[in-house]
Structures are given as C-alpha cells and as structure tokens.
Amino acid sequence: MSDYLVEMKKISKEFSGVWVLQDVDLSLKKGEAHVLLGENGAGKSTLIKILSGAYSKTSGEIYINGELAVINNPSDAFEYKIGVIYQEFNLNTYMPIYENMFLGKEYSNPLGLIDRRRCIAEAQKALARVGLEISAKRLVKTLSVAQMQLVEIAKALMSNVQILVFDEPTATLTENEIKKLFQIIQELKANGVGIIYISHRMKELKEIGDRCTVLRDGKYIDTVNLNEVEDCDLIHMMVGRNVEFEKRTSHYANNDEVLRVEEMQYAGLLKDISFTLRRGEILGVAGLVGSGRTEMAKCIIGEYKANSGDIYIKGKKTKIKDPCDAIKNGIVYLSEDRKNEGLTLKHDVKTNATLPGLDKCIHRGLISLNKEKDCANQLVNQFNIKTSSLNMLIKYLSGGNQQKVVIAKWVYKGADIYIFDEPTRGIDVGARQEIYNIIDSLVKEGASIIMISSDLVEVIKMSDRVLVMNQGTISGCLENDINLCQETILNYAIGR
C-alpha cells in the first residue's frame, strides 16, 4: 500500500499547440487537505479536470493507491472514488434533492420502478452527514448556494469518495457558511478522505490546508508545508520572482479628464466604483476572476444597467443606456469572450471587420462593395492579420488573429475610449507584442484605454495607473512607478 492516495506524475496537456500544463506533479495523502495555488490561467482547473476525467492528459501518469490508473472519462474517475465539487453545480434545479442525488443510480423495487421511499431515506441520511437538516424532497431551486454545495458534497460522500476536490468552494459563501464547510472538511479528513482544495483566498489556506502545491503558467513550481511558509513567499512563488519585462517607456497621458465614473453600484456585484480616466492614459484594471472587472466595463457601456452612479464623459454628465449609445459617445468595449461577444465566427473577416463602422462604406445609401473590400484590405495590412483572404471565415483564424480582427473593427469605427478586456488571453507571444504596439499607438494618437487584465506582467508593462479590484470594490488605485511590483497588486487583489 502506498503512502499516497493520488500521485500525478509529469502531467502535461496540450490544447491545439499550446501547452497549458507541463510536467506537473501533485501528490495527495490520506486525510490530507492539499491546496492547489496559482494565478488565473496557471493550470489548476486543467489539472483537476484531468484527474476527474473531464480532459484527457497529453502525457504523464496517475497513480491511485500506488497503482497506475487509467482515467479517460468521468465515470472512470467515479470508479476510482474521485469526486469534484465544481464552482458551477451539476444539479437540476427543478428536481427534488433526492432525485438529484440518485440520478442514474436509483434504487428500484422488484417491479423495476424507482423505490422512492428508499431513495429518500438514504438521501436524508447523506444530508444529515453534512449537517444539512432539510427535507430531501425539497426542490433544489429553493436552496441557497451554500445548501446546494452541501447537497453536492453529500452526493459525493454517498458514493464513498476517497478523493474530494473543491474548486473555489468559498467564492460565493458567507463567513458562517465557510465555517460550517471547514468543519465538514475537517471531519472528512479525520475519516481518511483526501482533499484537494483550490482557492485564491490566502487567509483560508492555512486554516484548512496541510500542504500546498503552486503552479505558474502551467508549470510545477513547488510543494510546501503550509505551516512552514510565509504568505509573501507563496505570492512570490505564484507570480514568479524574476519576471523579465520592459515597461512601456513613452507616456502620453495628460490632465484632460475623458471619463469619470462616480459611485457606481450594480446588483450585489459592484460597490462604490469611482475613478477617472485621462486623455492618452492606459488605465490597467487588475483583480482576480469574479472581482467585478468585466461587470464594471459592461456597466459603463450600458450592457448591464447599473443601479446607481454617474458617468461623466469629458466632464459632461452622460447617460449611457445601451452599447449603441456608448459607441456614439466614443466608448467601445473589446470583450474577453471573442467567440461569443466579439466576433461572428461563421462570417468572414471582411464582414466582421467592417460591421461597427459600416457607415463609412456607404455610398448613395448602399454599401459600396469595393470600398468595403478596400477598407478591409487596409485593416488586414495595418494590423498584420494573417488570413488567406478577406472571405476567410473567422472561425478558421488563430486566436491572435481573431483578436486583431476585433481590434481592427473598433479602430475602423474609431473611439475615444477603448475598454480592452483581457486583450492577450490565449494569444501567443508574438501576437501579444503586436497587440501591445497597437495599444501604444492608440494612446499616442490621443485615445484613452482601460485595460482589464489578469496578467500582472502585462498590467505593469502597459499601464500608467493600475486600479485593483477586490470583491466588487476598488481596493487600490496605484501609480505605476518604479516601485510597483506584482506582489503589491496581488496584495490589493486578495484584499490583505
């Protein structure tokens, strides 16, 4: 019998030419809570999805109880008694709790019908194990988020899991609910269940975790005992000690205010958002996933309706009621989600590139096809978009070239304020530099830029100032001077 419940050795994963995991190791002991730590995009989720059979690994080996395990799909993982509590719950909200828990493995009576009474009784017992004292017959949609999470845990326990993975379990819980969750985790540990715990919240880690494995950019950094390490060391490990980069040297920001947001509130997601943007400035917006960065951008352009707050454009109070309005007022938003919000994948390069600025191709009330072609050609050249022709469908372009089309279509339309949301996510190094150059030339010509990014290297490289967001508020507004480092930003981002 091995000491380890799980050993993942030299796990690598490639997605269409990009290595998202390279030689990552992870080991889990019986009764241990093992924290998996890393920035957005470090590869934590990918690693977990490989363990749970949702993704297949490109190379590497997984040992369970010392024996080589083959996990090709989620039901294999189920056989090895691996359970995962994802952030998004896998519950059918219109079914009662017990039906969810027994979905696909219902008890049946001699007639072959579902033995409802037995299912309910068993479900009730499982709920009691996690301290959830509600009827198993209740519909899932009547439960709170915390209760749903407990149902998921109870469901996992019912199949006698030995390995239970929590993916950011506390993101949506209140203090009391977190306490309760931690109690349950402690009990599970005492029963010999191995826990893998993914979280961004530094203060939780030491409370719940025994050891910690840090990933960065898909690479294994180290595994440490949490009681022997300082927070700042962990942060160092997450962001990397010696990141080489050159800061943008030229600055074009002057003191003309082009945008001021005052006390913007949105649902429960944004609180008291106030900031200003100057002409020629690149304002970096840092923060963890879920900190409200995208929501802030969408509230500014009127895609989401802010509950309160004012927006001033060039000092004039302006009401922006929808994205169309925002564009008229010179504010454009380049979504982080190119496929769903940025481009029409089934249309070609030309159609996508000219959509917002179609007015410029109109001649005597009709679209001039020649003019449109000329404009598209010019954009393709200007932004170095690699495409076989203007009629190439967007879906066949690489991520970097797709992003360049997104930028091209907005530059073609023209704007005073460009809001870039994760401008270089999923884009290779070469295209990344091109995008930086484009952003730089935009501010040089007098535009202003809000750049939302999870890549702190990028934030420090490009920004004049950095807004840091934490749980829907602005936790810091930092001048990007020589002293600003990733650790400082991350400290504000995790709210320490």
Partner: protein, 318 residues
Amino acid sequence: MNKTINLKSIQDLLKSYILYFAFIIIFVIFSVLNKNFLSVNNVLNIIVQSSIIAIIAVGQTMVILSSGIDLSVGSIVGAVGIGIGLLMIAGVSIPVVVLVGVLMGSLIGLFNGVIISYGRVPSFIATLGMMGIARGFGLALNEGKPVAGLPMEFEKIASTSLGGIPSFVFYSIIIYLIMYVVLERTKFGRYIYAIGGNRDAARLSGVKVKFIETLVYGFSGLFAGLGSVLLTARLNYATPVAGTGYELDTIAAVVIGGTALSGGQGKIVGTLVGALMLGILRNGLTILNVSSFFQQIIIGLVIIIAVFADNLNEKKNS
C-alpha cells in the same frame, strides 16, 4: 473544363452547388419523362404557381436569417384576404385595397416583432400564437364564409400579361431584385445577418438588435400581405382558409435554398430556387399522374435530403 468553372461561379452565386445541381437534375428528369413539361406554357405556369410562395418566402428568409421563425404567414394570408375582400365589396377602390392589404400584413408582422424582440417571447411561440389569432380573426370577419363577387379590375392584377409573360413573373423578379439589394447592400440587410450570426456580438457592435428584429417580422408580414393580395386576385375570391400550410411551404423553400435555420447564413437567391423547386416537383409529379399522397412523401424527402446534402457540403469545406 469550361463547365466546371461555370458551375463554380454559380456555386458562389447560390452558395450551394448541390442545390443548383439537384434543380437541374429534377428539371431534366421531368422533361425527359413528359414532353409537356418543358412547354413554354407549363414553365410559365410553374413560375406563376411558385411565385406567391416565393414572395412570402422572402420575408421568411429574412426572419430565418435573423435566427427566428415565422409560423403566422399562412394565417396572415387568410386574414388579409378576407379583409380586402370585404373592403372591395364595400366599394373601396382597388389601389387603396391593395395598400390596405399590404399594410394590414405589415402591422400584424410588426406586432409579432414587438412581442418577440421587446417582449422576449421566442419567435416560435409568438408566431404560433399569431397563427391561431390571425386565422381566427379571418374566420370571424365574415363568419367563416368566403367573399366572392370581387370586381373584375382586381382580378387583372393576376391575369395581366406583358409580351405573353404573366404579371406574377414580373412581380417576383422585381421583389427579388429589390430585396437582394436590401439584404446584400444595405446596413439593414447586413445587420440582419449580424444578428442571426451572433446576437450578442451584434449588440455589442452597436447594432440596434431589437429594432432591426421588429422590422424583420414587419417585412415578413408585409410580404404575407402582398402574397394574400396576389392570391386573392388570382382566385378572384377570398376565403378565410387561404394560405393554410404556407408557413411550412415558405420554410421549406428557405431551407431547400440553403439558408441555415441557426441564422446568419444563406442567400435570398437560394430561396427563389427553393420555391421554384417545390413548384417544379408539384407540377411535374402532377403531370406524371403521381397521386397527391405520394407527392407529399416525395416533397418531404426532398426537404430532408436538401439539408442533409448541405451539411455534407459544409463538412467538406471545413
């Protein structure tokens, strides 16, 4: 060699090489099987028979391009027919009647559009509801009875011909020419494609999605109203059950024409070919004395095969 190049350019035009090919094959088969099929009179007859479906299908194409569906067009044909029939009996002048018919269709369509885009009711449901409402309205207007004894002048809309070519041919050509330009060369047309291709991206690109969508259903109603005027003129009487099944015929024409039900992809020329294809099948099979029961089976198969072949075509390209 020459032939492949020629076909290729047509493929670009129709965006569907298989559709064109099938069209030719079906045409040739019928011509060989029955010598009456290829006569000038019969070909003109096919076009006249197809033209009402073809005209209503223009609106259906716009709706499907925007990734919606309009099930109410057939009922609009019935309601508008009775409406204009009663007006004519009451002595309203022909031009006014035509205008009112088209306007009535447009208004019903716009109502659909408002419910769908501003009320966020799925197009399938909203137009399914309107399918019942408009049909019931048409029946209630004249207590379920047809309206006969329409003025002879009105019938001329359908019976006039120029140089031996019936007026319906000209109506179809003019409408298709105009709507081709609208869809290919105007912002409105481009926005319809953008909405059908990716609604969110279109909205974030500054397209007034709800407004455009409402107009699209308005156009669908407009062409249904126009189709009703033409049908009533051709039959020279109005019946509240006119247009029954037209919603399915127009959808079939659009789909056979290569427009994707998922929206954003397709060409209006394809719809014309699709409508003609339906017309050829019905006419040819009737000439060959195939019973109407088997006609339905064959036409059903053609619809499925058309989409199936289109999928194959798409896979091959990617």
